[in-house]
């Protein structure tokens, strides 16, 4: 037992090192390139410069300030999208006529990139928080809506037949049979929705905001502060990655007891 466990740990360490080799080599070459002048440090600053800049942005509080505002917007927009997406998704999954009613509209709106909607939203709502949050809502909505619908529709018909024969009430069928059946799918939708919200907040702030991490990126660009820009973009990427990882763990924790019963 112990033996295979420690072997598993060894394999994990080995894989971890393997995954790091290429990035480390690239960083090394990049640093060397800037130092010997074959890469223009004003356009692509050296990794050591980026690290310094990152520390500076952390110390002067700019990064924390921008992130706090962006997070607030993401949470607000995501929660609104979650409520709309889950409620509509549930109704679309349960009732074929409701599904037909909405699906044409959904299918036309869904492929439009959020960025393309930003100008329209700003014209309608003006620059400000309502516009920012609306953009995030749209960015998070589709995966939540679609995954909820699919999850509800995947409920085992045989269990619903059983519920009918045993005369279970409709609310009991919806909340205690359909909801648990759809839970894993809904959580997948929420996870993708948070990612969508995170991407949308950056886009929204780059175009129509005067605060937040997206705004900071545009601001650095206008001041030609290349190092700031790179650091901020990298931070956006790393945070997006971490959000997804954390939510995936959360999703599997929450649905653990349900998953164990899935075929």
């Amino acid at each position: 037992m112990n033996n295979t466990e420690s072997r598993g740990a060894a394999v994990r360490i080995k894989n971890f090192i393997l995954a790091l080799i290429l990035p480390a080599a690239l960083l090394f070459l990049w640093e060397r390139g800037v130092k010997n002048g074959s890469i223009n440090g004003n356009v692509i600053p050296a990794p050591s410069k980026l690290l310094d800049t990152f520390i500076k942005l952390v110390k002067n509080g700019k990064l924390a300030e921008g992130l706090t505002i962006s997070f607030q917007r993401v949470i607000e927009g995501f929660l609104i999208a979650a409520v709309i997406g889950i409620v509509l998704g549930f109704l679309m999954g349960l009732f074929a006529s409701f599904n037909r009613l909405l699906s044409s509209v959904v299918n036309i709106l869904r492929p439009i990139p959020v960025v393309a909607l930003i100008p329209i939203i700003i014209i309608i709502l003006g620059v400000g928080e309502p516009a920012n949050v609306s953009i995030i809502v749209i960015g998070a909505l589709w995966p939540i809506l679609l995954n909820t619908t699919a999850g509800v529709m995947s409920t085992d018909k045989k269990l619903l037949e059983l519920a009918y024969v045993y005369r279970l009430s409709k609310p009991k069928q919806y909340f205690q049979i359909v909801l648990p059946s759809a839970l894993y799918s809904i959580l997948t939708g929420l996870r993708l929705g948070v990612s969508g919200a995170w991407m949308s907040v950056v886009a929204a702030e780059m175009i129509g905001a005067t605060s937040g991490i997206g705004y900071l990126i545009m601001f650095s660009k206008s001041l030609a502060q290349a190092a700031n820009m790179y650091v901020l973009v990298l931070v956006v990427g790393i945070i997006g990655y971490l959000i997804d990882k954390i939510l995936l763990i959360l999703q599997n924790k929450i649905s653990g007891r349900f998953v164990s019963g899935r075929r």
Binding site: K158, L159, E161, L162, A163, Y164, V165, Y166, R167, L168, S169, Q176, I177, P180, R257, F258, S260, G261, R262, R263
Partner: protein
Amino acid sequence: MSDNAILSVRQLKKDFKIGQNTVEVLDGISFDVRRGEFISIVGESGCGKSTLLKMITALENVTAGEILIDGEAVTGPTEKCTMIFQEPRLFPWLNVEKNITFTLSPKISKQEKKELAKKYIELVGLGGFEKALPSQLSGGMQQRVSIARALATSPELLLLDEPFGALDAFTRINLQDETLKIHQKQKATMLLVTHDIDEAIYLSDRIIVLSAKPGHIKADIKVSLPRPRKRSDLEFLQIRRQVMLELFENSSGQDIEYYI
């Protein structure tokens, strides 16, 4: 209709529309089931046995004719009648105990539900598995949970759609005996659909033979052998032969002995 019939089926007809075609699945089905009787329905695959049970539970609507449970026309599922399906149909996220309490009437108190679950878990021989999830049980144990779940609702009429069909011979014979015990203890009326002629003879007071296209009642055979029955008794084999004759009469000119 005899006065103590718990179930009366009158001139029942069922058509299905498949594309443009109307398929007659059942026609002219009439029979009564007396309170406390154990009835088996046998018939070739596709002759409409499951459809018949589904109509009794109102899962399918009736094309013509009527079904009465305790003298009342069936318009929806009733608490007097429950069905055990061919598959266990357990809720994978609920443990054994909760699977059983889940389908109990909301009028019953929590404490009472727990006690009922305990009683029926013991009855089907699953004591100690209260907290197990369905995925942690064998197929036979899962089917026993579904039997316990049905019995816990104390139905007066229990419909069983090939509940032992997917089980190995050993578990099947065990569950047949348990079902018989439960039938005697609970005084419930049971209507069993099966492919297994021995099972039908072993368990039933009467065997209804259905023939196909459209399904109609070919024979209604009384089994008055004393219990417990022995599958090798001469009378048992004679009834078996009689059922076989009814089942295979029209299928070909071959001698029936060939099948037995």
